[in-house]
């Protein structure tokens, strides 16, 4: 029944004031070592639990950071989560987490709530279609000078820090790899969402096609969700064509895995009869059947860089907004080969 002990409880027990206890528990040298030890001992015995609400109220900092992702079912994003979590734990920051499900209203609500909680910073993979307006004014007036780092997806015209992958380069690497292997008939299985990632990758695909003097027809570009189902279904459709493409570039590994599954069912051999590429190089890409050619997005570097940037902003660093673009790496595996 005894309610949670407070500084007062300890103070009474030891015979000092709350001030002394407060200082002692934080190892302040103003309190003599002897007293400090008695106080810390008593705190332990009483099972004292620090109250961050009280501390946060007085100090204005809650010791938390907020992270908002949009798609947990995609391991690619959980890789980010892992890397950032590690860095924040190191910095002794707790993480408020939100799964926005690509839904603007969820994202907006989370931004408001994390502000209410006094989170000191926010890392955000903006949901598709997020605009500048969504990020400032709208929810939290004081977001203007609030530490906020966008990752993975870019939002134009923001005054925020951003850490993103070089999607244009990634597609170029894959395209060149396929082109050099003799492929001339390409298909693009692209992300349908309104994100910078989807736009940049598809745009880069079209540029490469143009530069190679290859026509982009209605049959070469297909849009859909980033799911296994989409890749699977799309390949089924492609196989009914009179002269199907010999190389399929997918917006994401996830889609490519779907394509591989459909190939397997139809006895089409990826890397021999057809070439398939992914994007992201998630862990499973090395173990698909066959192993998937992809570009490795450096989630580790991006995640670390973003956390670092956020922590430095939180520490009060002032500099113009940074837009960091991290180059990915081509990883050639068995799912691609010379054009038949």
């Amino acid at each position: 029944m005894a309610s949670r002990p407070t500084l007062k409880t300890i103070a009474d027990q030891v015979g000092v004031t709350v001030s002394a206890v407060s200082l002692a528990l934080r190892d302040d040298l103003r309190i003599s070592q002897a007293t400090r030890e008695r106080i810390q001992q008593a705190a332990k015995e009483l099972g004292y639990v620090y109250n961050r609400h009280a501390a946060g109220l007085r100090r204005g900092d809650s010791g938390t950071v907020a992270v908002c992702l949009n798609d947990l079912s995609n391991p690619f994003f959980t890789e980010f989560l892992g890397h950032m979590e590690a860095r924040f734990r190191e910095a002794d920051r707790m993480m408020l987490f939100c799964h926005a499900h690509e839904t603007p209203s969820i994202q907006a609500r989370f931004i408001r709530q994390m502000a209410e909680h006094g989170a000191a910073g926010l890392i955000l993979v903006p949901v598709a279609g997020t605009t500048r307006e969504d990020l400032d004014g709208a929810q939290v007036r004081h977001l203007q000078d609030f530490p906020l780092v966008l990752i993975s997806r870019d939002v134009a015209d923001t005054g925020f820090d951003r850490v993103i992958n070089d999607d244009v380069l990634g597609i170029r690497l894959l395209f060149e790899h396929l082109y050099e292997a003799g492929h001339r008939r390409f298909a693009w299985f692209g992300g349908g969402g309104d994100t910078s990632t989807a736009r940049d990758r598809e745009c880069s695909f079209r540029q490469q096609m143009d530069a190679a003097g290859l026509p982009v027809t209605r049959d070469s570009v297909h849009h859909g969700p980033t799911t296994l189902e989409f890749g699977d279904a799309m390949l089924e459709r492609l196989l009914t064509m009179p002269e199907p493409p010999t190389a399929i570039m997918c917006f994401s590994d996830i889609i490519a895995f779907g394509v591989l599954a459909a190939c397997y069912r139809h006895g089409v051999r990826p890397g021999v009869d057809i070439s398939v590429t992914g994007f992201d190089d998630m862990a499973a890409a090395a173990y698909s059947a066959p192993a998937l050619t992809s570009v490795r997005v450096r989630t580790d570097l991006i995640g670390q860089c973003a956390s670092e940037l956020l922590l430095s902003r939180m520490a009060g660093e002032r500099y113009p907004p940074i837009r960091k673009v991290v180059p990915p790496e081509l990883v050639v595996r068995a799912s691609t080969g010379p054009a038949a």
Copy 2:
């Protein structure tokens, strides 16, 4: 420069007291509708942001719940996260999140910190080897009567609520499926961690073998981490045996995917030359090459049930600790077939 507005700021603006503002913002009927509207209007104009530290200090509830998982790289666990996040969002609870990396010290620290934050409840997938002592006394004296729900993995002798999968049943379903298909030489690729899941599944495997009158030899049981690498490497080893098993049961889909990858490289046809089963039935299982026979762990039901249980405990419900066991479902796909 103007610091964040408070109730006082609004009160001065409108010409009422903080009490009135506090009540009005929460739509308390004690304040006349006219005044309420004026206050709410002013709050909006000033860009007022609710301060949960202040409210939490006074009310003793921060409106957060804590969730601690141990392995983000396994999509199986992020499925839980998704389901719980949805339920908590619905209940207007924020989520403090921790990735314990199977590390007891991280788990312990998180438990302490979430208590400091005044989280109203905790859902935990305990890290391998977690004991009763780790969960009470040790970190937070007041955890005794603290809403805590364990999921996925069980910890013996706790007085806490638990929601877990019926692992024994799952293995039995898979075994019977394989046995009826004529398989008699089995291998078990098992989780190496000290978790109830690893123990229960392996134990069930041994029971089934016994019941079928099949010997469990040194060559039939293999332990390792829940990774693609482990499954891959283990199959390589198995193929060097003079008389390899015809059926391989894996502790997790992840391991099975590694096995399928190795099969593919060696031209061994899963479902024809050898049968492979996973466990969990994560989304990718339907799209592996070939599609994987597995048992579907109802992460949706378990996640929902756990959140529901936690919310009801948080609401003050008192009843003896509940141990809810959710039955999984057999999903037969192409990776298993009649014994050669």
